[in-house]
Structure formats: C-alpha cells, structure tokens
C-alpha cells in the first residue's frame, strides 16, 4: 500500500515532518514501511510555458516551436513532435539537464539544424498520467509557474502484510489518524456528511443475502459529463500506482484511496430496471468483467445484478456491460460492504485480486459506505460540473449490534506492558485513536471501539494493550528477567540421541548434508519406488516436488552424483525424516533415519566394511546379516543390520548401474527403532581370577560360506567354558582345492573357579571339531 505524504499533510494540518522521519515514526508505531521514494522529483524544474509559434519542419512531422517559459527560462526554441502543439497552447516545459520519467534525460540537441533548448512534455513523459498522445494542455497558470496541482510528492510504501488486520489503513484517512495520534496533531476529516441528499431514492436495492452483504448504499447522478480528470487528480492516482481512466472512475478510486471504501459506478442507462439485486450467483452463471475476461460463477460467489443478470462481481470487479463510457450521462454509484471471507474465497478461486477485493477481505467498516458517497458527491461536482443528484440515498443494511465496550484494568495493563503508565496517558492515547473512554470503577476503563477498528481488529483487552504499547513506544519497556520457580525442563532424549549420532558420524569422517523432503516421480522410478506409495503434493511448483520422500536414498544418490564431479572419494550422511503415508487424512508416519554413504573409485568392498564399523560405533556388537537385495542394491553386496534381536537398517553397495563411475556404499538405519530400544543395558562381569587358555582352529569351507555362521557354530559347540571366539584371517590357495578356503579362528576358554586342565581344553576342542565336521566343514591341521 502506497501513501502520499502530501495527502497525509492535507489530512493532518500542521504536520511538519520530513518524509524520512514520518516513515520512521509509522514503522515504529503503526506498520512496517518498506521505503520512501520521491514521486516525479523532476516537477521541481518543470514549468508551464506558452507556445508562441509553431512552424512545420521540412521532411518530418516535427514542429519548430518557440515558447515563453516564464522569467527563469525565457523564450526558448524547442523541436516538438506532438500533434496538439499549436500557437497559444499552454503546456509543460522541461529545461535541459533534467531527467524525467523512465529515466529520459533532456539535453539541448540539434535536430534537423534546429537547436532544441528543452522539451515540451506529455503527461506520460512526466509520469502524471498515461496520456502520450500529445503534450499536456494546461490552463489557468502563468508561463514559468509550476504545473498546477502537481507539487513534488513523496510516496511511502507500507508492507501489505503489516496491514492485514487494519482495514482502516487501506486508505489515507486511516493512516492520517495514526499520524495525528503519533504527533498529537488534529485530524481533518474530509467528509461532509451534509452532502447526502434526503428524499425518496431514485433506485431500489434488494439484498438477498445480508450475511455476504451487510450493507449496500448508492446514489444516482444525472447530467454527468465523462472526460479526463483534472491533472491534479490524475497525478495523485498515478503517484499511488492507480491508473487514471476517466473523471468518474478516477473519483471512485480517489475515494477508495482516501477512505478505504471501494466504490463502483454503473452507467444507469445500461442497467435494466431500477433495482440493484445483491444475490449469490447461479451455478454456471457467466459474467463478463471490466478486464475483458469472462468468468463462470457458482453460488459461492456474490453478484450485483439487475433484472437481466450479473452486472458486477460483488466487491471484486465491475461488469463490462454497464461500465462508464464517454456517452454516459446517468450513473448509479455503489458504496457497499461485503463479508471478507467470501470476497477472499471468490478472489482466490477466480485468481482475480483487485484493489477492491484486497480491501474488502480485510473487513471494511459498514459505517463507511455513506461517508464515501458524501465524499464522492463533493468530488463529482469538481470534476463533472453540472452533475446533479437524482433522488435521495439508497441504503439497505442490517445493522449489527454495536460491539460491547472492552473493560481495561489499568493494573493488568501495567503488568503486561512491564512498565508503569499513567491513567491520563492511557486515556489520551486511546482518545487520540478515536476510542471512547469511560471510567466506571477506579483504575478500570470501559473502552468503546470506533466502528472502523471493530470489524475484526479490536475486540479484547490485549488489542488495547497493543494500541497503548505502540504509542508509548516499546523502547520504553525495560527488559526484565522473570522471577519464577526453578523447574528442570523435560529432556528431549531422542533429539539428543540424534545429535550424538551426528557427532559420531562426523568424527568418523562423514560430512553432514541436508536434502529436500521432496522427490520427483522420475527419481522415485529410478529406485524402483512406486510413486503411489508416496504422499503426494497437490500444488507443486515444479515436477521436482511432486512426492514426499519415503527414503533418504534419492537425495543421497543425488549428493553422490553431484560430488563425484569434484572428489574421487568422500563420505557424507544425512539425518532426516522418511515420510510414510497412512490411511485417509491421518498424519503420515515420520521416521527419522540416518543414511551414510561412502563414494570411492576402488572396488568398493573396503567402503562397505567402513560403514559396518560406523554401524558398530553406534550399535556396539551389531550384526550384518545377508538379505535379499532390493532393486537399487548391488545383488551380491547387500544385507541388513541387526542389533539386540531387531532388524534396524540396511548395509549395501548401490547398484553399479546407479553410479556412473566408482562405487557407493550405503548404510541406512532407522533411528526411531534404535532409540526405542533404549540404551544398551550394561552389567559388570567380575574379572577372571584364573588364567584363560586359547587355541587356533582353521576351518575349511566353501568360498561363499559366512564367517559369522562358522563363528556361531564354534561358540555353540564350545559350551559354557567359551569366553570368546575371534575370527583371525582367511586363506585361499595351495594346498586347498580351488573351491575351498580356510578361515582361522581363535578360541579362548576359561572357568570362573579354576585353571583349565589340558584335558578340559582338549575336550572342548574335540567337541568343536566334531560339530564342524558334522556340519560338513573340514579342519586344516
């Protein structure tokens, strides 16, 4: 939302602050200003000039004009191409050295042998309107004086988000009221209520849905002349980024920019019948809007209709069929109030945001409709001389009971604010913002809320706390540590666990990455995931974001491909949530996983075991068990990680067809499952008092036998005396046959109460050998 400093000064007489200071005060007390920019600063140098002569120049459409530019610039010769340049014309002269709209810099130049000592400018070239058909046509000023009604202005841009709750600040008067309160100046209300005519209305209004349209007011005018607005009005709209169209439309926009009340003017002769009907649209009802588009409506949309059909989409946009045209002589001027949520839904559904819808969705004040009409009457008389009111005010509304006053306990106020504040100061602030203050009990105010703040903004005492707090300035509140009982906070063990896993992975050489929660269908397909198993995004911006990841793998895979361009070997990991969809509208299961990866250019086996070691750091004593490979896993290098009787994740090499060059080993652990197991129970075992005995055994087995399987058989066969079975090394080659290998284990035995005899050790050894031979293994002597 843009605010003109000149306009604010008109509404707050005596306001004497620089645009920059004003901007800072508004930011600190009311709403966030994004900046302040001068509007058309070149107007400082532009003057009115009278064309004394204008001669055609041979071979072009240009004219050589001599102008009287007043005492400062004197008589100048300029080359001008405008068709309306003629002797006697009073227009705008831009001296050389000035930069005007669109960065156009004016210099003295020689054109076709004529030195042009400046320029005659159109409204568009000066940024005052959109008219570039010819140079400006002025009247009523002397050559050399500034352009009438167009002083240099400053425009404050306020962040719309910070106005969401303030319907009144969508017009200059609302902001002026704030400025007046901040500066302790008086607000000059521009509305003259006495301009509203009494008597029988010339038009009727029939509101069929008071929920959606609490109030509809209108006036009918006749003897209207449609034409361009005066320059000052065009310039003011242009300064705010509103497009000047015609005097009638411009006045409605001007009043909207001033009072925050959007209005609409219908050509009364293009309406059928003389009743305005406010109703829900019919299913499929077609509506041709002013913007040239056609919309198919539904009963959730509210329309303004005549006997034939919709003539406006209520609170959003007018219709093409009843718009003001050059020939218009009678108008119906609408000033209504609409229910905000419905306006917002309509505007969102039709993707049609207008200056009107933006205001109505903030909950405008129903009291304001007639005030806006009164203001429009005054302005119409200026821009369309001879205009007449036809009949009295058309006004239909279902008045809601006024909101109850808010009880404000001054002691509560001080406690919340965190500083003392005098009763009189509270009253002064509230009254400067037009609240009505009474004190029915000592130290308790009854605060009446002005209608323009009561629609949505202010209804509870906390809202009043904000009014007072911002006006006294929050910088007057001292920071104070609260006094309260010591309580040990709840400890988020799971989060701490994740942090410890991160620390450990980093210490082991892995760098943490963070990947998106989204994947594309194409990514899912690459890993053999079914897209429909994923939770789907309904409104993705790009195809990269259509599904929510149910594995960290696609992201990690991308990290591997990306980084392989720069590194021959690297380690990385991510801790993030897998998202698994559940039935119906339930929240999905979010399962935190650790995925670690090692990329190498070697054969990849060392990487797999390094990841196994990472798993062991986290899960002391965990096992890697062979398991059937998934489609994205190397078919002969895949397994699962088990710990304390539970399968907790996978250890695998990525299928080589998924890695362009080199190998990638992956460890994937379900951190929720691991956390659920709790810390490993530890129990002290007394140290052995008697020495242990050990012997080595070399077991001959097939090439694809699992080391852990033989170890387990040895342990089982060793019985109660077994302290430890440790794999040492394996051997292939002579004298073993080609399809055999030997695996050597060290067996340690011991007893708690005596030193083992050689007989005892020999028995265990024989038992182990017998068991292994029974299972088909040989023993290498």
């Amino acid at each position: 939302m843009k605010f003109s400093c000149n306009w604010l000064r008109e509404l707050v007489p005596g306001l004497d602050l620089s645009p920059r200071d004003l901007t800072r005060l508004i930011t600190m007390k009311t709403a966030e200003c994004e900046g302040v920019e001068p509007f058309a600063p070149w107007l400082e140098a532009v003057v009115a000039a009278r064309v004394l002569s204008a001669e055609p120049m041979e071979g072009s459409h240009n004219l050589k004009a001599v102008v009287d530019a007043g005492p400062e610039y004197g008589t100048r010769t300029v080359v001008c191409g405008a068709p309306n340049c003629r002797p006697g014309l009073l227009t705008a002269f831009v001296p050389p050295g000035v930069t005007i709209a669109a960065g156009k810099h004016i210099r003295s130049v020689v054109i076709q042998g004529v030195e042009s000592q400046g320029m005659l400018a159109s409204g568009a070239e000066l940024g005052l309107n959109r008219d570039s058909a010819g140079v400006l046509e002025l009247d009523g000023v002397e050559p050399g004086s500034p352009l009438p009604g167009c002083p240099v202005d400053h425009i404050i841009e306020v962040d719309n988000k910070s106005l969401t709750h303030r319907p009144d600040l969508w017009g200059h008067l609302g902001m002026a009221r704030e400025v007046a309160a901040i500066t302790s100046l008086r607000l000059a209300d521009p509305v003259r209520g006495d301009l509203i005519p009494s008597g029988a209305p010339a038009w009727q209004v029939d509101i069929r849905d008071f929920e959606l349209c609490p109030r509809y007011s209108a006036l009918v005018f006749e003897n209207v002349t449609v034409g361009p607005s005066p320059l000052w009005l065009q310039a003011r709209l242009e300064a705010l980024g509103l497009n000047p169209i015609s005097n009638i439309v411009d006045v409605t926009n001007y009043v909207m920019a001033e009072l925050a009340e959007p209005m609409h003017a219908f050509d009364a002769d293009l309406l059928h019948g003389n009743t305005i009907i406010v109703r829900r649209a019919e299913e499929g009802e077609e509506f041709a809007a002013l913007n040239g588009e056609s919309y198919r409506l539904s009963p959730s949309n509210l329309v303004i209709a005549d006997q034939r059909g919709a003539v406006a989409l209520a609170g959003v946009i007018g219709g093409a069929g009843s718009a003001i045209r050059p020939a218009t002589t009678r108008i119906v001027l609408e000033s209504a109030n609409f229910e905000p949520a419905n306006i917002r839904r309509t505007s969102a559904a039709l993707k049609l945001r207008t200056d009107a819808s933006m205001r109505f969705e903030k909950a405008q004040d129903p009291v304001n409709t007639v005030r806006a009409l009164a203001r429009a009457v005054e302005l119409f008389r200026i821009v369309s001389p001879g205009i007449r009111l036809a009949g009295g005010l058309v006004d239909s509304w279902r008045q809601a009971p006024p909101p109850p006053p808010i009880e404000l306990d001054l002691e509560w106020l001080e406690r919340r604010l965190g500083r003392p504040i005098g009763k009189e100061e509270v009253r002064r602030i509230l009254e400067s913002l037009s609240f009505r203050v009474e004190e029915p009990r000592p130290q308790v105010f009854q605060v009446g809320v002005p209608s323009w703040r009561a629609t949505k903004d202010i209804s509870i005492r906390e809202d009043l706390l904000e009014e007072i707090g911002r006006m006294v300035g929050y910088d007057t509140v001292p920071p104070v540590a609260p006094l309260m009982p010591v309580r040990r906070p709840w400890v988020n063990e799971e989060r701490l666990f994740h942090h410890s896993v991160r620390q450990m992975a980093a210490a082991q050489g892995f760098t943490e990455v963070s990947n998106y929660s989204f994947i594309s269908e194409e990514m899912a397909a690459r890993f053999g995931f079914t897209p429909d198993e994923h939770l789907r995004v309904s409104n993705p911006i790009s195809s990269e974001q259509t599904l929510l990841r149910k594995s960290l793998l696609p992201g990690i895979h991308k990290n591997i491909s990306d980084n392989a361009r720069f590194y021959g070997e690297f380690r990385l990991f991510e801790i993030g949530n897998e998202i698994h969809k559940r039935e119906g509208r339930q929240l999905p299961l979010e399962a935190p996983h650790l995925m670690a990866a090692i990329y190498t250019r070697g054969d990849g086996s060392a990487a797999l075991f390094e990841l196994k070691r990472l798993a062991e750091c986290l899960l002391p004593g965990c096992e890697a068990r062979p398991a059937e490979a998934r489609p994205y896993e190397h078919p002969a290098r895949a397994g699962e990680i088990a710990w304390r009787g539970k399968t907790l994740g996978r250890l695998f090499e990525l299928h080589p067809r998924l890695v362009e060059q080199g190998r990638a080993a992956i460890l994937d652990l379900d951190l929720a499952d691991i956390f659920a197991l709790g810390p490993l129970p530890r129990k002290y075992v007394p140290l052995r008092r008697f020495p242990t005995s050990e012997f080595d055994l070399s077991v001959v087995a097939g090439l694809r036998v699992h080391c852990a399987e033989i170890g387990a058989r040895i342990r089982d066969a060793a019985g109660a005396l077994c302290e430890r079975v440790q794999y040492l090394y394996s051997y292939q080659g002579k004298p073993l046959p080609e399809d055999r290998q030997s695996l050597t284990y060290r067996v340690t035995l011991g007893a708690p109460d005596h030193t083992l005899s050689s007989d005892e050790v020999g028995t265990v050894r024989r038992n182990i050998i017998a068991a292994l031979e029974a299972a088909g293994f040989g023993i290498r002597q």
Partner: protein, 340 residues
C-alpha cells in the same frame, strides 16, 4: 712398596678408563683392574702376608683405590649408555609433518551447529526442546494459531498442500499448540525445525528452510520479560552486545505482535545493502500469545499468559557466515559443507 704398586695401578686404571673408546673396551679394562682376577684382587690376596697393623692400613688404602675406580668405571659406563640411547632414539626420527593416516573428520551442517548452540542456550534457561511433525494438519498450522480459513494472513504463507488434506508446515508455530496440548502450563519450550513455503527457489528464496520457535507460558508474563529473553538470545548468538528495537508487527497468533530488529552488525546502523540502507535488520517476530491460541492449546487465558517468538535459523546462518546463496544449504555440496 705396596703403596707405590697401588698408586701405579690407580694411574694405569684411570688412563685405561680414559682411553676406553666404547663400552666393550671399558668392560675389558674393568675386568683387568677390578675383576675377580684383576690387579686389585691380586693385591687383596697379598694382604694376608702383612702384619696386622700393616694389613689394616693397606686394606683401607686398597678399598679407597677400589672405590674410586668403581666410581670412575660406573660413570664412564653410564656415559656410554646415554650415548647409545641417544643414538638409538635419534635413529628413530619421524617426520611429523606427514599427514595422519585414515579419514579426515567430517563436518556438521551449519544449521545443525546453530540449532545445537541454541538448544544448549535455552536448556540452560530452563526451556525444553520439543519437536513437531513436518507434515501438519491444517488445524495445527493455521486454525489453532488464530488463522481461520479465508484469513488474509494465509496469503503470507504459500502452502504446500498434500493429497490427504494435510500440509507441509509453513512455520514451527504449530509446535506451540502441540507443546501446550502435551505439557500444559506453565511451559517453556523451543522448537527448532524444518519448514516449507511453496515458492520459487533463487539465491535468496528457498521452499525449505529452518526456524526456531520459542514459547513461555506462566503467570503475568510481560513484554519486558519477553525483551529480556530476546536480548539474551541475540547476545548469545552474536556473542556481543546488540542494539534492538521493538516495533508493531502483525501475526494472528500473538497480541500484541512485534517485529524485533537488530541494529545492522555490518554497518553499525549507518545503512548498507544488507540492511537495505535502513540500519536495521528484521530478525525476530514475537509477541504475547493470543488468548485464542492458549485456548486452542487447552490453557485458560484468564490464568496464564505468555510470549512466543520465531527465529529464522537459515537466515541467521547466512548472516553469521555471510553466505550469499541460500540454495547452498540444501545443495549437499561438500565444497560448501566442509567449510563448517
């Protein structure tokens, strides 16, 4: 006669010690003079032939020579041992500038680091660190936070909607409600985490970023209390005194609502591109918790009140390390991540 023999032996022995060039030569000399069959042992045997008086005197003399020589031999031997040790150790010279074997330690993501830092800070102030789901219900993300359907404030948060009617949380604020539901009042929590906005990605916009939500509910919590925590937080983050200003800001879940700005740390308030020439950087939206939000969380606003704030962690990380492209944080690019 004996005296002169002894002094002769002493002189010869001392010169042999002197002359010994290695431990073996010294040992040979020791055997020659102090050995069981050495020169002094030989004289000892002869003592028996002397008169008792003579024997006593000569024995004393012999002992003193023996003691002196033993001392000298030991001393020289020690010297040889030290020499030998020194030589051996010198031969063990290592080039410690060689790189350590094995894998270099990895790095933690800067967002992890800042989260941990802030979690530790708030834990020390008596706050619990809580988590909430990344996929949220519309109710928790909006309605419970006093943002009913068709509220214009929903515009400010472009939302990823999901096929099952849920959404990706647009802020960490829904954790306020979940924490109230779970713990009730009094309450002191922070909730760091990942949030999502449905917008195009460029150097300064991301659809995925991190926030830290904070909330305190107790009896009679004031704006002054909130300011105390905000200042403490910022000074811990920036490790220096910071100048802050509090101005009105609109967020439906707080009333009153504020924007807390810090004076630009780059230009000190005089204006620069980082602060868009204003001298201030918007950092911490905060406010007193709206009674409707307390009610949504099952807490009676007549008894309890509190403050809440939201801190953009991604933004903070970018400020701290002067990172100029937000996309790097989610890029997985090790050339970037290894810097932290």
């Amino acid at each position: 006669m004996l005296d002169s023999t002894l002094s002769d032996i002493e002189a010869r022995a001392l010169s042999a010690i002197e002359a010994a060039s290695d431990a073996a030569a010294l040992e040979r000399a020791r055997v020659e003079f102090l050995g069981r069959k050495g020169a002094l042992a030989q004289i000892g045997k002869d003592l028996g032939k002397l008169s008792p008086e003579e024997r006593a005197r000569a024995g004393k003399l012999l002992n003193s020579v023996k003691q002196l020589l033993e001392e000298r031999f030991d001393k020289k031997q020690t010297w040889f041992e030290e020499q030998a040790l020194r030589a051996r150790l010198d031969a063990e010279w290592l080039d410690i500038t060689l790189p350590a074997p094995g894998v270099r330690p990895g790095a933690l993501h800067p967002l992890t680091q800042i989260q941990k830092e802030l979690e530790d800070l708030f834990t020390s102030l008596g706050f619990a660190v809580v988590d909430g789901p990344e996929v949220e219900t519309e109710w928790h993300n909006f309605d419970a936070l006093n943002i009913p359907p068709a509220h214009p404030a929903r515009d400010a948060q472009d939302t990823f909607w999901l096929e099952n009617g849920c959404l990706l949380r647009t802020h960490t604020s829904p954790v306020q409600v979940r924490a109230m539901e779970r713990f009730g009042a009094p309450l002191r929590i922070i909730a760091p985490g990942r949030v999502f906005r449905n917008e195009e990605v460029d150097a300064s916009h991301e659809h995925t970023f991190y926030q830290l939500e904070g909330m305190m509910i107790d009896r009679d919590v004031s704006i002054g209390h909130m300011l105390y925590f905000m200042k403490t937080l910022l000074e811990a983050i920036f490790r220096r005194e910071v100048t802050v200003r509090l101005r009105p800001g609109f967020f439906p879940f707080v009333e009153p609502g504020f924007e807390l700005d810090i004076q630009c740390l780059l230009c000190g308030g005089s204006g620069c591109p980082v602060c868009k020439q204003s001298g201030w950087v918007e950092l911490l939206p905060c406010g007193l918790v709206h009674p409707n939000v307390l009610r949504a969380g099952g807490i009676d606003p007549r008894e309890w009140n509190g403050f809440a704030f939201g801190l953009g962690l991604t933004r903070l990380v970018m400020m701290r390390y002067a990172i100029d492209d937000i996309r790097l944080l989610q890029s997985g690019d090790l050339r970037f991540l290894e810097q932290f």
